[in-house]
Symmetry: C2
Subunit: 372 residues, 2 copies
Amino acid sequence: MSYSIGIAPNIRKSPYFDATVEDGVRAFSVYNHMYIPAHFGDLAAEYDRLVNGVVMWDVAAQRQVEIRGPDAEALVTYLCARDISRTRVGQGRYVPICNHEGLLINDPVLLKLSARQFWLSIADSDIELWAQAIAAERGYDVEICEPDVSPLAVQGPRAEAVISALFGDWIGDLGYFGFRETSLDDIPLVLARSGWSKQGGFELYLRDGNRGGELWRRVREAGRPHDIGPGAPNDVERIESGLLSWGSDCRLQVDPANPFELGLDAFVDLEVEQDFVGKQALQRIHAIGPARRRVGFFIDGETVAGNSAAIEVLLDEQRVGSLHEIAHSPRLGRNIGVGLVDITVEDDERRLWAVVDGRSRALEIHALPFIR
Amino acid sequence: MSYSIGIAPNIRKSPYFDATVEDGVRAFSVYNHMYIPAHFGDLAAEYDRLVNGVVMWDVAAQRQVEIRGPDAEALVTYLCARDISRTRVGQGRYVPICNHEGLLINDPVLLKLSARQFWLSIADSDIELWAQAIAAERGYDVEICEPDVSPLAVQGPRAEAVISALFGDWIGDLGYFGFRETSLDDIPLVLARSGWSKQGGFELYLRDGNRGGELWRRVREAGRPHDIGPGAPNDVERIESGLLSWGSDCRLQVDPANPFELGLDAFVDLEVEQDFVGKQALQRIHAIGPARRRVGFFIDGETVAGNSAAIEVLLDEQRVGSLHEIAHSPRLGRNIGVGLVDITVEDDERRLWAVVDGRSRALEIHALPFIR
């Protein structure tokens, strides 16, 4: 089934929109009320560039929520389930954000630009509203907005060569999630070693929405010797690598989950003195233990194309979990998936199955990630 | 330009999804993180049915935020810029919701199901997060969720005939925005006289997501004698009728606006005793007077197809506003649009222009609505 999507004024266009059209974008999705390229017509080539070469993605829809002012650090501390007190300027942190019941409502990367200025680089939910409501009701002295900042991701083993050709050798000094405020000639941006893949790479947080086309073309030009091509956040690689996709793996309104179910224990700090949203609920959940856990699955049978909605995981005739997203892994030569199962289901359970593409198929649990 | 949209698990499918596919949906958009039909391939027929006959729309993406519990009314009162104290059970109210700075963050219809249970039937922003944050921080004793409720709209001058055939003559007693909890055989739903058009009609708030296909087919069957057909919320008619489209006409992150700029004065009650979010800011804005106002425009020249983003409104060479959405009105035989202009611009200003479809065109202000 193929449907079209209209480009209408109620959904925002990325600053790279025209450039991606020029480069042959074929499908869009919508993320944070903004169009985001879904693919450019050759999924195999996009995957291959990501794991063997270098690919560029318009991820402007990964919007920033900026928190600025005297109480910025206090508010960010209160919003995040992770202790950010030792975060340095220029250091990004993956920070689960929960509601007061301990359910994950977003999983942004936090960028500390200064002691009084932070960005939350968000997944697909309105954290600007969340942060504004909490700041105003608690009387924090902060300003919260969505600034004119639009990431462009360059991902893959050859990303470093492309980025160093553009910015110089100093980029080698950036640690994982490290970033620096800089510019490309006079295009203002923040350069970070980050991105939604495990293939290595960078994100260029463009700070002037009028210069998207220019930045896109500069990156494409610098990437030409490395056969760079356009692509989009890749669901096959993210399942192989075990990355969380908030929105697919959980969503507050669909299949709400807490960070312990999702295996994010390392990013939740319950022993801190300060209060944060959801702390009490998370302490309670942690004491009892989570009811489900996030796992990978091998899926038997012929090659799957993907799924359009979550699929029930069954043990004999009983529902014991859900497969949130499935894909065929070219590197493993197998069908894989990611989902949540009841905590009582053992790793070596041999009676798991699901209906995929109209057929009953055996499932086998595999620890995440599939590929390290 | 035509692009495709993939149906992926990170965006929800409506309970009517399969039925709309069966009925030939051709394009989708995304609203409240859910696929929503954009059209079925014949826009002229959809418009004609809406203004002369009857059309059915999958508007499940108009999600409900349910607020339930002992403090439900207190929280709703605090969230809404409109005084809801005299709202009766069974009565819907159009309620602007602002942030603490007085900027409109959503414009839902409020449904009072009981003294302790309310629905906010929302436009495209995460009001569930907003309401949860405020309720928890203020210590209100409420539960807030997005229930399994999915509206199906039946709109047009013949809608009443279709709905009375399904539910009986009592529906004639429903006043505008009136609703009743009922069922169709055993399909549970709330029936309301409402909908996002000025052509009259009803919304069936389905309360069991497993029965979407069934409800869709029942409505289609009852509508057959009236030549009902599938369609989608119609931007041409809404501009003609002056209805607000939150997301197009304003959006917090793109072109934030306060309710006075948007002409929603009648729905903001500043004289109440109780506090509500944004009250102080709105009092301040009201005292000074809004900086802009919402108006309609006639647009000169050949027929326009529509726009993909807001367009600058110019007076000689100076930017004095923006055209948020444009369309060709079949009933008026003219190009029309809706937008905001600086308060200093007079109704009879003759030097307004904009670049539409690559050409400079004269604009003429027209009071909203174009058609009553």
